[in-house]
Amino acid sequence: MSTRRIVHPDDTAAVLGRHRDLFDDSPLRRAATLAAPLGIAGLAIFAVWWLAIPFSQIGPGLASLGKFIALMFPPSSGGHLDLLVKAMGETLAIAFLGTLIATVVALPVSFLAARNTAPHPAIRFVIRRVLDTIRGIDALIWALVFVGVVGLGPFAGILAIAVSDTGALGKLFSEAIESAEARARESVLASGGTTLLAVRFGLLPQVLPIIAGQILYYFESNVRSATIIGIVGAGGIGLQLSEQIRTYDFDQVAFAVIMILITVAAIDMISSKLRLAIIGRRAVA
């Protein structure tokens, strides 16, 4: 005969009794688990009250939103297909050149901002704060500033993306450099190489694939952000899009949005292929 104890499923009280410690938390712990959701909800209620969210507007707003969506079908280019294609091309050019310039600037800067390659902690500190400041300002604000400098047009957008991404990429690159292994660099130094050689042969091969992946990722996200900076006149499809929304040409809005969706999907596909190729090469090397 088996000596195993059989627990009858209907005997829940006994089971619960045996595992009381699992179910009886101390009141303090219960309060702690309750505190987080209560705090979140409380802050949400305060926010709704502070911002005076007009709930009465939601009903009519949804109705007019429904009207907008109904107006979107069928999407039409409104006879400006060539203009839209050109604007989309501008958007891609802005994202591409913006990312490229940001990379070229951020790469040397990131070596000065990384703990293991910075010549002096003070330099590192200053550069980090500068990068943080640049990053804290949205690309759209940079676009506004650059429209004032070089005039309306995609060039302002390129500069805006380049500057705001220099902050972000500089930080990411320096983190990649910091997480690189020191052994390869040390061995180059030990065999009599200069610091520059150590960086070139001991560090770059490690960080380059990571950096390339991040650049591709930022290119993707820049295609998305380049679609909006046109709203302030910095080139790209955003100008058309905002004008069409303001003039209630929602069929053209739908057309432009579909164009953006298709382009972004295509870019995502290409860059994920490229990223795989780069990471694959690293696995082989």
Binding site: G61, S64, L92, G136, L144, F155, V253, L261
Partner: protein, 294 residues
């Protein structure tokens, strides 16, 4: 003294060297090809993007002098009065800044709740229905690809000026990005607890609650905090199209050349973002520490 280094026969050495040269040459050619493609792309993009370096060089003084002009005149002798003059509207701006943070907070909350509800239906390892999963993934994609300002513009037309339009616009964008991140987090979980719960005959909701949720909760919280920080930044921008927050004042200040106002507002935004950055980083480290402790 005799050297103990083995010398390689001449013929073998040559073969090895030739192989090495071939390999190096191949890699060089590959790099050159990539560079050439890059150069062509730069040329095309430069034409389409109307890059005009002469224009930039001519007007770069505008850029530097712009920063010269937005820096307020602070003298040591009247430091307090100068700062007060610079921040003449501090109470109004602080109110708007709080507006911005709260817009970001509500938008993050709404977006994260929505993403939380749908992510389990979109994850390949848990989704009860394949076609439903495909649809939800496309919805996520749509929500994060359409820029939040486009949503903001439409919502301003529909709901009127004010924070409601901004909250909804950022919430939709958050829904799309967090939906994707949450789905990926769920797809990476250990399936054994899920199978364990499932084998006891539980329903979908119970499987998710007791099998999957405990594994992903901390990464969900961490992603949401990161998103909150990004949303504070976008919250400072949606005001430009009239969707509430400090963006409206900043936009007016830039457009009307109230130089010192621009620097005052920008500095407030930067400090605010930096504080939130630090605070959320602290919390995120704690959450990931908890994870490792388990």
């Amino acid at each position: 003294m005799t050297s103990s280094i083995l010398s390689v026969p001449q013929a073998r050495l040559e073969a090895l060297l030739a192989g090495y040269q071939r390999e190096v040459g191949r890699r060089r050619r590959q790099s050159l090809l990539v560079l050439a493609i890059l150069a062509i792309l730069i040329a095309i993009a430069g034409r389409v993007g109307e890059v005009d370096l002469a224009n930039l060089v001519d007007n770069i003084s505008n850029f530097t002098s712009y920063f010269g002009r937005i820096i307020p005149r602070l003298t040591i002798s009247h430091f307090g009065a100068d700062v007060a003059d610079w921040y003449w509207n501090i109470s109004g701006w602080l109110k708007l800044l709080l507006d911005t943070v709260l817009i970001a907070y509500l938008a993050t909350l709404v977006g994260a709740c929505g993403a939380f509800a749908f992510a389990f239906l979109a994850a390949a390892n848990l989704a009860p229905s394949h076609s439903l999963r495909w649809c939800i993934k496309r919805v996520f994609e749509f929500c994060r690809t359409v820029p939040d300002l486009v949503f903001a513009l439409m919502f301003v037309s529909a709901f009127g000026l004010g924070p409601l339009a901004g909250i909804l616009a950022i919430a939709i964008h958050t829904f799309g990005t967090l939906g994707k991140l949450f789905t990926e987090a769920i797809e990476n979980i250990d399936m054994r607890p899920v199978e364990g719960v499932h084998s006891t005959g539980s329903r979908f909701i119970e499987t998710v609650r007791f099998g999957a949720l405990p594994q992903v909760m901390s990464s969900f919280a961490s992603y949401t905090l990161l998103r909150f920080e990004i949303n504070v930044r976008s919250g400072s921008v949606v005001g430009m199209v009239g969707a509430g927050g400090i963006g409206q004042d900043l936009f007016v200040a830039i457009r009307k050349f109230y130089y010192t106002d621009v620097s005052a507002i920008l500095l407030m935004i930067i400090v605010c973002v930096a504080i939130i950055d630090l605070a959320t980083e602290r919390i995120r480290h704690r959450l990931s520490g908890q994870d490792n402790g388990k």
